[in-house]
């Protein structure tokens, strides 16, 4: 009865206070929709119920799920009372309620003092719950948390190992910076404890301490080194986890423990196994020879070799020898063999993560003949939960591209059940398509046939695409597939029909001449199909192959001209396209129609369409102004286009939604550890980087800002226009890009800086390069303009009739027979496609390359630039400022979190035009609130600017929650000087003095210029305005790539095309004054180079010379 009495002794006033509230609460409980909530508390234990009966009033209070803010203090008083009692059961009761509140996300931080008092309680359950509470709130109540520390310190000395361990566990979980030294000491001591369990706990504590204070890294590494030498299985998993989190770059620590880890592996607990296997995979991939090296060199994608073109000689000599053309026969290192042997049994683990980790290891490290063993295990995982299936299928999908044979025997395991979730269905389709070969295609197609009847329309669409891919990959079935797809055109479901149209379009592109009847069939469909993508596809087909359907094409155009204004944008663009092509081939019939369409487009709401119309008018309608280009118009529009290659989206190690280590390893995972970072390490790392590199890159939106046309574009109209098109897209993209994304980038950069500098970026760089080269190739092929043109001039009315169609069909049939001889040439075409395949894939748009510089392929580039100039001649776009390169955004710190009392501010020059005022430099600011309190009313107060300087665009931040990050863009007119802009940042309580000093490279913005203009402008800026400097380029900066990248990273310049190999030209204008800055760099033999800068602002010129020199010589 004691507890009840105690409760009844509650201050009378409190009880009184409660009464009215109780009634209120009682009502609200009845109203609350969930009856379930009640059981929640009823269950909080029977002896509570006892209490309830005797002292109903205050307890009822506790029960209510919908408690409102003002009742909280009272309820907390009550809990405090219980916590202060002598009786353990009351304390326990109180703690249980508090924990239940924490579990529901209620704030109970007020009770901190009352709870912490009980940290030394004898009752073990009370103690545990207090620990739970403490760990949850210690970060918020640092001072009070310190009260509990001494208890744990005592615990650390306890003779019982379990108590020592649990004391260390809780102590290290308290995230209070002040106790870092204590934690450090405790970890060090525990690391040499007798008991392996305590040592394990020490290993667990290491990452906790590291995330709390990264300055402890060196000391922690010592501890890790010591623990790595531990011989017990208990410790191994935990210490490797700590190693991966704290110092993954210190691969040298593993060397002497490698064999031991391999041998222990099988006895380690399963979670530890996952971590160890992943670490060993990484280790082995950097330390051993690729067992499949021969094979990978023979592959069609030589750039995907195992180690890339790792040019770091010092570290791996054997690797270099391996890359030599004359290789010794491969003999597997015994240690390599040891790893493979010891991990194999783990394929039999019950834990899917372990199986996957081993599968990943085998996929990368086992000789080709042995990889097969993983297939069975992976197929077994498909029996597991749907989430596991999803991840496994993604991995299988990307593995099956490289090693089809491995999964072929298991083809039937990938058959789709009608009850599978859609996402699983789509992945299984992907796998089956990858596995398709001449031998099994008939089975697969039969299977696909049943899928097409499914109710799940997304799945049906996926199946149609899969059929399309099978048809492109396997010649034998192409006609069968095509016929099947044509039949689907009469499907009742519009989505199915539309999807078929899109796929047929792609297939037809491979051999258009044979299938003009299909094209004609599709032309008829345009009346019925309403799905924009499908309409656009049909129009493109008709335009592209208007020679095959000379009679119908003008009529389609006539129809479309009628409905032009009601069409979707994508369709409108294709109508313009069709009009242009018809005008060039059949201007007699279509001249007026074309002009009509162009006129409609001229006044369209969408600027893309207006631009396109303007551009095309200039190009195809010969006027005295139009110049040389209209002569080539036909070549431009009706150039032979490479057919799109339908390929798996998993090709190239791309991940669809997330960074599974396995999938990302081939391309990204390696570069994750080997990003070069010439920049100095930043001392401050206020926050943990949010993203590892590999994760960020897996997001398609992220790097879509590179200059590539997006996938759909390159497929639907791989025409010359796409170059200019994508540029405008890109610009708009960039403007609309969310702040979030900027933050991400920043975070990512931080991470890459943090990464170890000693390793090299061979692979990622190399890949970047090849991608670019390919891109260049494509441009040149699509834009291959040569020789004469035939721009006809004629005028006649558009007369076309449906009746002609029938008579035509006979001749068409004949021509179809003839054209079957054209196959060999198609083969050649296909071979060409392979080379440029990378571009056509979705994965290019999401490939990890930051566009650091415009394509080095100058010849095609210059054509593009000319075109660009052309389209813009009659526009009023502010200036020919090009969107800047984003590769080199460097972050500066404006306010440190210590001096800012929790507020930290960083800024970077994001190199974008500042939108309201183009004479301002755009500065991207990022505010982070590291304190516990929210910051209110952040604003800029009294800028103390130099004469002429202006600032604009800062929006006041009303509230910055703890931990929140806000970003804003500020425009500053620096008046083309490097004087700092000083201003105050005010919060509700404080003022901070800040100053932003721009590097000279950020005071300019790139401009586009042709070679001729460049020379002309350079001629005007001679004498005093010209600064010349000689320099010697160090070895690593002699490649084109490196030079361009260095220069662009230091200054915001635009590349100017140049005919000479050894000359690099850049142009920019100062942001404020608009003065031209022309940079020329001529390289000579032996790394000598001459830098010339022409600029009428001599100060800028001199400073820029200095900066560039520094960038290129360091």
């Amino acid at each position: 009865m004691k507890p009840m009495q105690r409760l009844l002794q509650l201050p009378v006033s409190a009880v009184k206070l409660l009464k009215p509230l109780c009634q209120e609460e009682g009502q609200s409980r009845m109203l609350s929709p969930e009856g379930g909530q009640q059981s929640w508390y009823n269950a909080v234990q029977p002896d509570e119920l006892k209490l309830l009966k005797s002292s109903a009033a205050p307890e009822n209070q506790e029960e209510d799920p919908a408690e409102s803010g003002h009742t909280q203090p009272i309820r907390h008083d009550d809990l405090k009372e219980m916590l202060d009692s002598n009786k353990d059961s009351l304390k326990l009761e109180a703690m249980k309620r508090i924990v239940a509140m924490i579990a529901r996300g209620k704030n109970t931080s007020e009770l901190f003092p009352a709870v912490v008092k009980n940290v030394a309680c004898k009752n073990i359950e009370v103690k545990k719950l207090v620990y739970v509470y403490l760990v949850r709130y210690a970060e918020e109540q640092q001072d009070l948390a310190l009260l509990s520390i001494s208890t744990f310190q005592r615990g650390l000395k306890d003779p019982n190992q379990l108590i020592r361990a649990s004391a260390l566990r809780v102590l290290s979980s308290i995230r209070v910076t002040i106790i870092v030294p204590i934690m450090m000491l405790a970890i060090k001591e525990a690391a040499s404890d007798m008991s392996p369990y305590v040592r394990k706990t020490a290993a667990h504590a290491i990452p906790k301490l590291y995330s709390l204070d990264q300055d402890q890294k060196d000391q922690l590494i010592e501890v890790i080194e010591k623990l790595l030498a531990d011989k017990t299985t208990l410790v191994a998993g935990s210490v490797v986890m700590a190693f991966e989190e704290v110092c993954p770059e210190r691969i040298d620590l593993i060397h002497k423990n490698y064999r031991k880890l391999c041998n222990l592996l099988i006895d380690v607990e399963e979670w530890g196994q996952v971590v160890i296997i992943n670490m060993l995979t990484r280790y082995a991939r950097t330390q051993f020879l690729n067992p499949n090296h021969n094979e990978s060199l023979l592959e069609e994608n030589p750039d995907k070799t195992f180690y890339g073109s790792d040019d770091e000689e010092s570290k791996q000599e054997e690797m270099d020898t391996a890359l030599l053309p004359k290789r010794k026969p491969y003999v597997m290192d015994p240690d390599h063999r040891l790893l493979l042997r010891n991990t194999k049994p783990l394929l039999q683990s019950r834990n899917a993560a372990v199986v996957m980790a081993v599968a990943q290891l085998y996929f990368h490290l086992a000789p080709k003949a042995e990889v097969g063993v993983i297939a069975k295990a992976l197929v077994r995982l498909l029996r597991s939960h749907s989430e596991v299936q999803f991840v496994v299928l993604q991995n299988v999908a990307s593995m099956s591209i490289k090693r089809r044979g491995m999964f072929e025997p298991h083809l039937k395991s990938f058959y789709i059940r009608s009850t599978d979730p859609t996402q699983i269905k789509v992945l299984k389709l992907e796998v089956m398509t990858n596995l398709a070969s001449e031998t099994n295609i008939s089975i697969i197609l039969r299977e696909f046939q049943t899928y097409i009847k499914s109710q799940d329309k997304d799945f049906v669409a996926g199946t149609i695409q899969a059929i399309g891919r099978c048809a492109t990959n396997i010649d034998e079935v192409r006609d069968t597939c095509l016929n099947g797809l044509v039949q689907l055109l009469s499907n009742r479901d519009e989505l199915v029909m539309a999807e078929s149209v899109v796929v047929i379009k792609k297939l037809l592109q491979m051999q258009p001449s044979q299938h003009s009847d299909i094209i004609r069939h599709m032309a008829k469909l345009i009346d019925n199909i309403m799905v924009p993508m499908a309409r656009a596809s049909i129009l493109w087909l008709i335009g592209e192959y208007c020679e095959h359907v000379p009679k119908i094409a003008p009529d389609v155009l006539r129809k479309m001209a009628k409905s032009f204004t009601n069409e979707e944008d994508i369709v409108k663009l294709q109508i313009i396209n069709l009009a242009a092509k018809l005008y060039l081939t059949n201007s007699k019939q279509t001249k007026l129609l074309t002009q009509y369409v162009l006129n409609l487009a001229k006044y369209d709401q969408n600027y893309d369409i207006r631009d396109r119309a303007r551009f095309i008018r200039q190009l195809i309608v010969p006027t005295e102004k139009s110049g040389v280009l209209s002569k080539y118009a036909k070549k431009l529009f009706l150039a032979q286009k490479p057919a799109p290659v339908l390929e798996s989206s998993f090709k190239g190690g791309r991940v669809v939604t997330h960074g599974d280590v396995f999938i990302t390893v081939p391309d990204v995972g390696v570069s994750e550890w080997t990003k070069p970072s010439g920049r100095e390490k930043r001392k401050e790392k206020v926050e943990k980087p949010f993203y590892s590199d590999s994760e960020g890159e897996s997001e398609p939106t992220e790097s879509a800002d590179s200059e590539s046309p997006t996938a759909s574009e390159s497929e639907s109209m791989s025409e010359i226009e796409s170059a200019s098109d994508s540029r405008s897209d890109k610009e708009s993209d960039e403007e609309t890009k969310s702040d979030n994304e900027k933050n991400k980038k920043k975070a990512r950069k931080e991470k890459s800086k943090k990464r170890d500098e000693s390793e090299d970026s061979g692979q990622s760089e190399g890949e970047e390069k090849t991608v670019k080269k390919r891109k260049g190739k494509e441009e040149s092929s699509s834009a291959s303009s040569s020789s004469s043109s035939t721009s006809e001039e004629s005028s006649s009315e558009n007369s076309s009739s449906e009746s002609e169609e029938d008579s035509e069909s006979d001749t068409e049939k004949k021509s179809r027979k003839k054209s079957s001889t054209a196959k060999p040439s198609l083969r050649a075409l296909e071979a060409k496609q392979k080379e440029i395949s990378l571009l056509d894939l979705d994965d290019f748009s999401s490939s990890p390359t930051f566009q650091t510089s415009p394509s080095p392929n100058t010849s095609s580039k210059s054509l593009n630039l000319d075109l660009q100039g052309l389209t813009l001649t009659d526009t009023t776009v502010p200036s020919e400022v090009v969107s800047p390169s984003l590769g080199a955004v460097k972050t500066y710190e404006l306010l440190h979190r210590i001096t800012g009392e929790g507020l930290s501010v960083e800024y970077c020059f994001n190199r974008r035009p500042f939108s309201p005022d183009h004479t301002m430099v755009s500065v991207q600011m990022q505010f982070t609130n590291n304190s516990e309190t929210e910051l209110k009313n952040l604003r800029i107060g009294e800028p103390k600017l130099q004469a002429g300087m202006r600032m604009q665009g800062f929006k006041d931040i009303a509230i910055l929650q703890p931990g929140q990050v806000a970003a804003d863009t500020l425009g500053i007119d620096f008046c083309d000087s490097t004087q700092a802009a000083n201003f105050q940042l005010c919060s509700q309580t404080r003022q901070f003095y800040m100053s932003i000093q721009p590097p000279v490279g950020e005071l300019i913005m790139p401009v586009f210029m042709t070679e001729n203009t460049f020379k002309k402008e350079q001629g005007k800026l001679m004498g005093m305005n010209e600064i010349k400097e000689k320099l010697t380029l160090p070895e690593q900066f002699r490649s084109d790539q490196a030079i361009v990248q260095r220069v662009m990273s230091i200054a915001n310049l635009g590349r100017v095309p140049c005919g000479l190999d050894n000359e690099y030209r850049f142009a920019a204008r100062t942001v404020s004054g608009g003065a031209l800055v022309l940079v020329t760099l001529v390289t000579k033999d032996g790394g000598m180079a001459q830098l010339t800068i022409n600029c009428e602002k001599m100060v800028i010129g001199t400073m820029l010379v200095k900066d560039i020199m520094q960038a290129l010589t360091q």
């Binding site: 993560a353 989430e387 395991s413």
Partner: protein
């Protein structure tokens, strides 16, 4: 590793949150809700959802979403597997893994989660250890606790965590020493492809530290196996016997796959005739199921589920045996047949009424079948003997065989 965990029920309420590092606001779940909305069905929610600052890895079990918040690169399966392990542990503790059970035992759940992860890295996931640390609630215990004021937290220190065989708790004592093995086989089938997946679940109640060896009559049948960590893989490789020191209580000893070379005898056959008439708004439905090669055993708890096309309005059927229900909203036809007794074969016949306006459904529905055959392992797998070493008493041993339908689908 795992930063936070949110449990979300089907109506979208976050009813439990737990953080292992600093607190992540529950607003992060908005991304999950967004994805959930987009996915429509619960099964279609992508397991990994990227958000600007975190990754959300979710699993769906028993109408509860387990959403883990991840901040750095982690193998996704690691997290998924762990979440399932949490669900299994809860199931083990409370008999069911439902929202009500979790809410009723919120403190125990919290204590469990605290033990299972340390700083986001799994610490103790073996049920034997966890049960030593935190006692599962039973009616008896809660009564005792009420009277004596003792708690659910074990007062001895969990020494199992220290041993080399972390799955078995120390000092086990039973008066009746028993070891039971359930061999359960499931047949998966679509069209011409059918295969057998089996599991051996064990319930071991043996005193002390027994070392068991289980051997099969025909181990060659087993094509692909996966084991509980207690099984010594070396012995399996060399001798094809299962040698292990078992955990105490229930656990899954192994799961296996029977090699596809052996032709699988499917124990039931289905005759179906489902047709929709082109004109008019009716269709015919006629399904018969019968046993085939069951080796004299009866087929029990037969259940047939047919997902009819959207155009179907209603069905008027007569079942020769069992009962059927048709839900016009989900278009799900469920026919509960029960036991098949020869020679009478269960049939379901009748008329399908279709929407008159809509065109005739193109697809034919897929028939999913469930059934159960006691005392038969369809693959023919047989346990040969069980030997015990290390202890002196003689245990009672038992083996039970069951064959069930797994993902058994018949396309029509």
């Amino acid at each position: 590793m795992i930063h936070s965990l949110f449990l979300i029920n089907h109506t979208g309420d976050i009813f439990l949150e737990k953080h292992w590092k600093s607190v992540v606001s529950r607003s992060v779940c908005d991304y999950f809700f967004e994805a959930q909305e987009k996915a429509g069905e619960a099964d279609n929610v992508p397991p990994v959802i990227p958000t600007p600052h975190h990754y959300l890895v979710s699993t769906h079990r028993d109408r509860i979403f387990f959403v883990a918040v991840i901040q750095s690169e982690v193998p996704p399966l690691f997290v998924i597997e762990f979440l399932h392990r949490v669900a299994e542990t809860l199931q083990d503790y409370f008999g069911e893994c439902t929202e009500a059970a979790i809410k009723d035992n919120v403190v125990i759940v919290y204590e469990l989660l605290e033990e299972m992860l340390d700083n986001g890295f799994p610490l103790a996931t073996e049920s034997n250890i966890l049960k030593e640390l935190i006692k599962p609630p039973t009616i008896l215990r809660s009564v005792v606790n009420t009277i004596t004021g003792s708690s659910n937290v074990g007062d001895q220190l969990p020494t199992g965590q220290l041993s080399n065989i972390p799955w078995r708790r120390a000092g086990v004592k039973y008066t009746n020493n028993e070891a039971y093995f359930d061999v359960t086989e499931e047949i998966d089938a679509i069209i011409d492809k059918s295969e057998i997946q089996g599991v051996i679940d064990a319930c071991i109640k043996l005193t002390g530290m027994p070392d068991l060896t289980l051997s099969f009559m025909n181990p060659r049948l087993l094509d692909d196996v996966s084991f509980h960590p207690c099984v010594r893989f070396k012995r399996w490789e060399s001798e094809r016997v299962l040698s292990f020191i078992p955990p105490d209580g229930n656990f899954r000893l192994m799961s296996y796959h029977v090699s596809s070379q052996n032709l699988v005898a499917i124990p039931v056959y289905i005759k179906h005739n489902i047709s929709f008439r082109e004109s008019g708004s009716t269709g015919r439905f006629d399904v018969t199921i019968g046993p085939k090669q069951t080796m004299g055993k009866t087929v029990e708890s037969v259940l047939m589920i047919i997902h009819m096309p959207k155009g179907v309005l209603n069905m008027t059927l007569t079942a020769a045996q069992g009962t059927y229900t048709f839900d016009p909203v989900t278009k799900m036809l469920i026919w509960d047949i029960g036991k098949i007794t020869l020679p009478k074969l269960p049939t379901l016949r009748g008329v399908i009424s279709l929407q008159s306006t809509a065109p005739k459904p193109e697809e034919n529905p897929t028939i999913s079948v469930q059934f159960r055959i006691q005392q038969l392992a369809v693959s023919g797998l047989k346990v040969n003997r069980l030997d015990m070493y290390g202890e002196r008493y003689k245990p009672f041993k038992g083996v039970k065989y069951v064959t069930k339908a797994g993902k058994f689908q018949v396309r029509t």
